[in-house]
């Protein structure tokens, strides 16, 4: 098999649709019709690893095999891009540092606990970035600070926990944060003090119930993750964030994402550099029969 003389199994349109539906049901990720050849290429390594002759057999594997759940995770792992880096979308992080963190400090003063959630954290750069920002702000000394990162891929979580990164992860990091890293033979490792603030977990965002283990949080970062979901799953995930946030807690989305047509429960907050969302502080006088949910 080679790039131009590809003799590997080909995916038929029906197989694509069946596999796409299965993956969507598992984790809410949605693939458009024009992504068929991408799905075909990326799943081919799974066919090889399992010794399966074609995508029909792979579909049957995901339907009937006792290890199907683990295989779903591997499939999602190869189908989604995991690329991220420290201080990604820094304009939003500046707003978070300068305008949101002081508000959160005031709101959580009585608890003396700050919990941030990086939803879909991939290899962990965002988790550590948030921990560094909190540490650097000096606003939370003596507090119980936790930054929790979750992902559906176990593989990326292994890397996230290790906290060792190559040059491409640092391409947007300002040099003043170098002090939070220690050089090592395999790359630069996050300083133990920062790593101690960070926790990782294997969670599927569309399985709302299990996300309760995160507890109540003060801010959720879910950037460039919702773009992979269909509208129903997107709504479900946003519902989960609303439930997990303390009143007055913040939700940060990626620059191309918004809650338009997804939820009206959040209020929009204009930061000087960005627009973010907040769970309203006020206690409503009325509750609908469906409860206080977006």
């Amino acid at each position: 098999m080679s790039i131009l003389h590809d003799t590997g199994p080909r995916m038929r349109v029906e197989e694509f649709r069946l596999l796409r539906d299965l993956v969507n049901g598992f984790c809410g990720i949605a693939f458009q019709d024009d992504a068929m050849f991408v799905v075909e290429r990326r799943l081919r390594e799974r066919l090889q690893a399992l010794g399966l002759p074609d995508y029909g057999a792979y579909h049957q594997f995901l339907r009937y095999h006792p290890d199907a759940r683990a295989e779903f995770e591997r499939a999602v792992d190869v189908l989604t891009t995991n690329e991220t880096y420290f201080f990604r979308e820094d304009y939003q992080l500046k707003g978070f540092r300068d305008e949101v963190l002081p508000v959160l400090r005031a709101q959580a003063e009585s608890r003396k606990r700050l919990v941030l959630w990086s939803a879909g954290c991939s290899t962990g750069e965002e988790v550590y970035t948030l921990a560094i920002l909190v540490e650097r702000s000096g606003l939370f000394e003596g507090w119980d600070v936790r930054v929790f990162g979750n992902d559906i891929s176990r593989r990326v979580l292994v890397g996230a926990r290790r906290g060792v990164y190559g040059p491409s992860s640092f391409r947007a990091m300002p040099p003043e944060y170098d002090m939070y890293f220690v050089d090592g033979p395999d790359g630069r490792q996050v300083h133990p003090r920062i790593r101690a603030m960070c926790h990782f977990g294997h969670l599927n965002l569309v399985e709302g119930g299990r996300t309760a283990i995160v507890g109540r949080v003060d801010a959720v970062f879910c950037r460039n993750v919702l773009i992979y979901f269909d509208s129903l799953s997107r709504r479900r995930v946003i519902d989960t964030f609303y439930e997990r946030l303390h009143p007055g807690g913040y939700l940060m989305l990626g620059h191309s994402e918004s809650l338009l047509n997804v939820s009206t429960a959040f209020e929009v907050v204009h930061l000087s550099t960005d627009l973010v969302y907040r769970r309203p502080l006020a206690t409503p006088l009325f509750r609908s029969s469906k409860g206080d949910r977006p």
């Binding site: 003389h5 649709r17 009937y64």
Partner: protein, 684 residues
């Protein structure tokens, strides 16, 4: 919630309180709901307006709110109220249409414009006539709004009205009409586009239309646009050229001819459009055009797209026509890059280079060097390429990698060694005979042993079957299938008792490929025993293998398995019975059509189709009403295959109610109509 509670909540200063009150309205409808909903639509807080719009859409018709909504749209003071009312009307669709149509004639100025916009949002069937008329309104704002609305409604009448305005004397109307046609993805004849190309204002908007025109005359203006200074114009031109080449494949050669001689400025623009900062669809379009132009300097961008798995098969095909001229540039690229990019550049160079001569030697040396690369993707690419370029001298290095390298590299090395057997059998035999197949690295080498064959092959594979590594045992069984002797069958049969279920299923599959006696008898006997396995996966694999062997003696056992609780087993058993051509399947098939698992139902449909006969059409037609699209699609395909008047009538009747686009297109293909439901040659 009482009317008083509602009034109190709506008077609250807290937006969240007002929002929740509106949410509760739709469920309880207390007195004064319509007035409060209308107030909510004009609320200063966007979340309240959004909630009001959602609630109003549910109850507007019941509460007789349409005239008030029309009034809210026509008024010019509260923009929030108007937008919220527009949202409601869009949700209501045709239900709001009559009220809007009735209000338009008496309205003037901005109100008329707003109502025309709203009519476009309602997208009702009878809106197009009113909007067509409004598109020629004396008020240019109303006319522009009507053109925009026509583009939202769509359909043949809207397209006709928009095309008519392409000849308007007002350049803004021409622009709006063309923009509308682009949004509808309408195919506009070249004769109507040609006059617009001299119009500076409209020319850029004409580019997507040129892309859909399927006309050779569209190529020149699109290629000329590549030299424009604006990146967005270049992006649009690239997307349009791609569309032209895709919709009208014979034009690809003309496009290639033209883009290969573009000025330097256009060439540089095409390469820039491959950059990672550009939208992915533009990058892919640029790759397509660069591939047609055979622009060597665009290879780096193409390689980056291949790394992302983003290059469509047709572009890869265009790339394969470049031949050896691209290989030196790719080798240079490989030398200056690392990881996945280096791997792709190397492998492409190997794909395009000739097998003999100085260039082949350069490729061979580069591959040998890359075998030592620490990145597994690079080493694997090199190993794969050595399947073509390798010589006897490469065998030891490939064997070493097959034995000790990680997954992909080991597998690629093993496959290369198998390919090298035809050119350097002695060298491969010598190197492989010194290896321990029972070890962890045996899985990549057992296939090589089978390809080599010879008197000792079976003995060596037997050793691999004793490996403590599951992957090696499975690979050994797959290799045994290539030497289908009586002894090989006995070894595979023994593996049906392996402690690992994956090994057992591989053994069943291997036995299924032993079609010649005396191996076949051993295979059939052991597979029939495996049908009683505790593991549904082994049962399924054994059933399929018996189907492949076409063994009629297994029919009774297989028929029992069709009723298995495990759908995977039932599916496999039906598949096997189909393969064996069991003549007594009939009742079992009817029963299986009601199975909860779609794969079982699909197997039953296939068997019914194969049996044919008078009852096949009605049985297949029943499945057109199945809840799952894939079952309906298969039923449509099979009915189409029957091609009888009765089956065509069944399909035609079902088409009107089919909701899935893929099933509909299958029906259309079977009936010989295009995807809009028109028979060949029929166009509105």
């Amino acid at each position: 919630m009482s009317a008083a509670d509602l009034a109190k909540a709506m008077a609250s200063e807290d937006a969240e309180t007002r929002r929740l009150a509106l949410r509760a309205i739709a469920e309880e409808l207390p007195e004064g709901s319509a007035e409060h909903l209308l107030r909510g639509l004009g609320d200063p807080d966007w979340r309240v307006r959004k909630e009001a719009a959602r609630a109003t859409a549910q109850v507007a018709v019941a509460l007789g709110m349409l005239p008030a909504l029309v009034g809210a749209i026509a008024q010019g003071e509260n923009v929030g109220l108007r937008n919220a009312a527009l949202e409601v009307v869009e949700t209501l669709g045709e239900a709001a249409e009559a009220a809007l149509v009735a209000a338009i004639p008496a309205s003037i100025g901005p109100s008329r414009k707003f109502l025309v916009e709203a009519l476009g949002g309602a997208r009702g069937a009878s809106a197009t006539a009113v909007l067509s008329e409004a598109s020629e309104d004396d008020d240019p704002n109303v006319a522009a709004a009507a053109l925009d609305a026509l583009a939202r409604v769509g359909g043949p009448i809207a397209e006709r009205a928009l095309r008519k305005r392409l000849a308007s004397s007002d350049p803004f109307q021409r622009l709006a009409a063309l923009d509308g046609l682009n949004r509808l993805a309408a195919v506009v004849p070249m004769a109507e586009l040609q006059p617009l190309l001299g119009d500076r204002l409209v020319r850029r908007v004409a580019l997507p239309s040129l892309g859909r025109s399927r006309a050779a005359e569209a190529i020149a203006p699109l290629v000329d646009a590549l030299a424009e200074p604006s990146a967005s114009v270049i992006d649009t031109a690239l997307l349009a050229l791609t569309r032209l080449a895709t919709d009208a494949p014979p034009l690809a050669a003309l496009i290639a001819e033209r883009v290969s001689v573009v000025p330097m400025r256009a060439r540089a623009a095409m390469r820039q459009a491959l950059g990672e900062d550009r939208p992915r669809d533009v990058r892919i379009a640029a790759a397509r055009v660069v591939a047609l132009a055979r622009d060597l300097d665009g290879l780096a961008g193409i390689v980056a797209l291949i790394v992302d798995d983003a290059l469509p098969p047709d572009v890869l095909e265009a790339l394969s026509s470049w031949g050896e001229q691209a290989a030196p540039m790719l080798l240079a690229l490989a030398e200056h890059s690392e990881g996945a990019r280096r791997a792709v550049a190397l492998e492409l160079a190997g794909d395009l280079a000739p097998l003999d001569g100085p260039l082949a030697e350069r490729v061979r040396l580069a591959m040998r060097d890359a075998l030592r690369d620490p990145a597994p993707s690079v080493a694997a690419a090199a190993a794969r390429s050595l399947a073509r370029f390798g010589t006897a001298g490469d065998v030891p290095a490939l064997v070493a990698l097959a034995e000790s390298a990680p997954g992909d590299v080991a597998r690629a090395s093993g496959e290369s060694l198998s390919a090298l057997v035809s050119r350097a059998a002695d060298a491969v035999d010598r190197a492989v005979s010194d290896t321990q197949l029972a070890g962890h690295g045996g899985s990549a080498l057992v296939g090589v042993v089978a390809t080599l064959g010879g008197p000792h092959a079976l003995e060596r594979l037997r050793a691999a079957l004793s490996s403590d590594d599951v992957a090696t045992r499975r690979a050994a069984l797959e290799a045994l299938a290539q030497v289908p002797t009586h002894q090989a069958a006995e070894l595979a049969a023994m593996a049906l008792a392996d402690e690992d279920v994956d090994v057992q299923t591989t053994a069943a599959s291997a036995l299924g490929s032993m079609r010649d006696e005396p191996a076949r008898s051993v295979a059939v006997e052991s597979l029939r025993l495996a049908l009683a396995s505790d593991s549904p996966r082994v049962q399924a694999a054994a059933a399929r293998a018996l189907g492949v062997l076409g063994d009629a003696s297994a029919v009774e056992s297989l028929r029992e398995l069709v009723r298995s609780r495990a759908p995977g087993v039932a599916t496999a058993a039906l598949e096997a019975l189909r393969a064996i051509h069991d003549p007594t399947l009939d009742n079992l098939l009817v029963e299986s059509l009601g199975h909860l698992d779609t794969e079982v139902v699909k197997q039953a449909l296939l068997a019914i189709h194969e049996q044919g006969g008078a009852r096949a059409v009605s049985r297949l037609a029943v499945a057109l009403a199945h809840a799952h699209w894939d079952v309906r699609r298969l039923a449509a395909t099979l009915l189409g295959g029957l091609g009888t008047a009765e089956s065509r009538a069944m399909l035609a009747a079902h088409r009107a109610t089919e909701t899935d686009d893929l099933v509909r297109s299958t029906i259309d293909a079977a009936l010989g109509v295009d995807t809009n439901g028109h028979r060949g040659g029929e166009r509105s």
